[in-house]
């Protein structure tokens, strides 16, 4: 199995499209963070304008931690899109290239081929999220330094500087877990089409619709919200609450894992039964 995963990794990481996401992150993250540095905290002032009438902020709250935390919001839409580029290509890419006819006639079970591809998707997703985290946090700290972290969600929360680093580490671990749900969905769509564009568009379409249903405050959506994975994708944000709602973190992570498992099982059933006609 290790050998199969190794060659799947070779196939994935020697493909140019794999680096589109890395390239975009490598360009966009520095661009935004440098722009934020040049703006000199105006962004934070605008966000906290209404609060400044009642509160007096002291010290450097516009720092690297704040910028890095703000950058994590890309995990809602932008990063899922970039992850689906590769996850959606894992199976459909073989169909497009015609290489199913090369690999599926060999004396190795479809399940093992399937698993090696899914493991590769996991590796890519984790590496990509780690890259995003390392670049956005590292560069933000380099440009703006450390300090206390101000969280502006459902009120104000200020986390002391010494209590922040580990939250980012755990936050990005949970972000990778959430992104794995997206990757699994793209992988699922990838199992029954012949073209990688379909899984990318389908993944983004589902993600957008679910996100809208999750965030738009309409009563009729309330009943279906608990069934949507997007309602649990904020699991990484919960690490930045005080106290951390560990039970809720666990529940969200378990539900996201359940979604990933369901997508992968469905993809496996389709892949095993698939007739290769072209």
């Amino acid at each position: 199995m290790g050998r199969l995963v190794y060659y799947e990794l070779i196939k994935t990481f020697l493909k140019k499209r794999t680096y589109i996401g890395f390239l975009l992150v490598a360009v966009v993250v520095p661009l935004i963070e440098v722009a934020m540095k040049l703006e000199g905290g105006r962004f934070l002032q605008v966000t906290t304008r209404s609060l400044q009438q009642d509160f007096f902020f002291m010290g450097n709250l516009f720092n690297g931690w704040f910028v890095a935390y703000t950058m994590m919001n890309s995990l809602w839409v932008h990063i899922p899109l970039l992850i689906s580029f590769v996850a959606g290509d894992q199976l459909a890419g073989e169909a497009t290239a015609g290489t199913y006819r090369l690999i599926l006639i060999k004396p190795v079970s479809r399940t093992r081929i399937f698993l090696s591809k899914y493991y590769t998707t996991i590796v890519y997703t984790v590496i990509f999220v780690v890259f995003l985290g390392a670049l956005s946090v590292g560069l933000a700290l380099l440009l703006l330094g450390a300090g206390d972290l101000i969280i502006l969600a459902r009120g104000i929360l200020i986390l002391p500087g010494h209590d922040v680093a580990w939250r980012f580490i755990v936050g990005y671990v949970l972000a990778a877990w959430a992104m794995l749900t997206i990757a699994s969905m793209a992988f699922f769509f990838s199992s029954f089409v012949e073209n990688a564009i379909g899984p990318i568009i389908s993944t983004m379409g589902v993600n957008m619709i679910f996100l809208m249903v999750t965030v738009i405050p309409v009563e009729m959506f309330e009943e279906i919200r608990p069934y949507l994975y997007t309602s649990y994708m904020n699991v990484w944000q919960k690490i930045f609450e005080d106290p951390i709602p560990w039970q809720s973190v666990g529940t969200s992570a378990a539900i996201l894992g359940g979604y990933s498992l369901a997508f992968v099982l469905a993809a496996w059933i389709i892949f095993r039964r698939k007739d290769i006609l072209s």
Binding site: R3, L4, Y6, Y7, I10, K11, L14, K15, K16, A97, G98, T99, Y100, R101, L102, I103, L104, I105, K106, P107, V108, S109, I113, R273, D275, I276, L277
Partner: protein, 256 residues
């Protein structure tokens, strides 16, 4: 279906005693194949592609990869990306990957599809080499009957999904209609002489030649008669083509 790309709706396939349904991996272990187009990971080198195929076969060595690439004449291009290969080279690489695990049987589906005459000849030579020198059983699926006639010992004809006939190519050809192509000057006299011969069963005019249905044993006698009649004989060619045989078989089938 033989290579498990399509699942049978019913029944099973047994390869070297193993059921494709129940023991797929064991059944496929002794078989190599290419199906239609030779598709590869174009952004990888031929060597890397064969490493991937080797991993799926349960492992291979660099020596074996270079050996099979040498066998198909691609050793010098082993470390070039497949996207730089011509169609004929990809076809040969397809055969190389089929041979990588040193299988007992090689299934080649339309291996000369899309090749120029030179490329077709190279593949045919390679197939002969595999069968005669490497002692492999080669199962060739082709719509090019001329190609089958040139390389195959045994054949099976499938029409509308049904096995119509099978056997040794030469024996089956014997069963088919035989004719002799006759060309000579003057053509009008050739025709009149042919019409008077009892051994001639049917005459079909094709341009400046005649396709004469008759026994090949009577060719020398016919030659003598034509020459004695003052005809300048240019050609007397015995013909029994697989194409004619195929058409006669499949036409009979479709009429039934």
């Amino acid at each position: 279906m033989l290579l498990s790309l399509i699942k049978p709706t019913e029944g099973d396939v047994f390869l070297f005693g193993y059921s494709l349904k129940k023991e797929r991996d064991k059944a496929l272990r002794s078989i190599g194949g290419i199906v239609e187009k030779p598709d590869f990971y174009l952004y990888l080198t031929a060597h890397r592609n064969l490493e991937i195929v080797g991993a799926l076969n349960g492992g291979t060595t660099r020596k074996r990869i270079l050996e099979v690439l040498g066998l198909v004449g691609l050793e010098q291009r082993a470390f070039d990306k497949v996207k730089t290969y011509s169609h004929g080279m990809k076809q040969r690489l397809g055969i190389a990957q089929a041979l990588l695990s040193d299988p007992e049987m090689v299934i080649l589906d339309e291996p000369t599809s899309g090749l120029d005459p030179q490329g077709m000849k190279e593949i045919r030579d390679l197939i002969r080499h595999l069968a005669h020198d490497q002692k492999k059983t080669v199962m060739l699926s082709s719509h090019l009957l001329n190609e089958v006639e040139m390389v195959a010992n045994r054949m099976a004809i499938i029409s509308q999904g049904e096995l119509v006939t099978q056997g040794e190519v030469m024996k089956l050809l014997e069963e088919g209609e035989k004719y002799v192509v006759v060309r000579g000057e003057p053509a009008a006299k050739v025709r009149s002489v042919l019409e008077k011969q009892k051994v001639v069963k049917k005459i079909v005019e094709r341009g400046d030649s005649f396709e004469v249905t008759m026994s090949f044993d009577d060719i020398p006698a016919l030659n003598k008669t034509l020459v004695r009649s003052g005809i300048a004989v240019q050609a007397l060619v015995p013909r029994r083509s697989l194409e004619d045989f195929f058409l006669s078989i499949t036409e009979t089938e479709s009429k039934l």
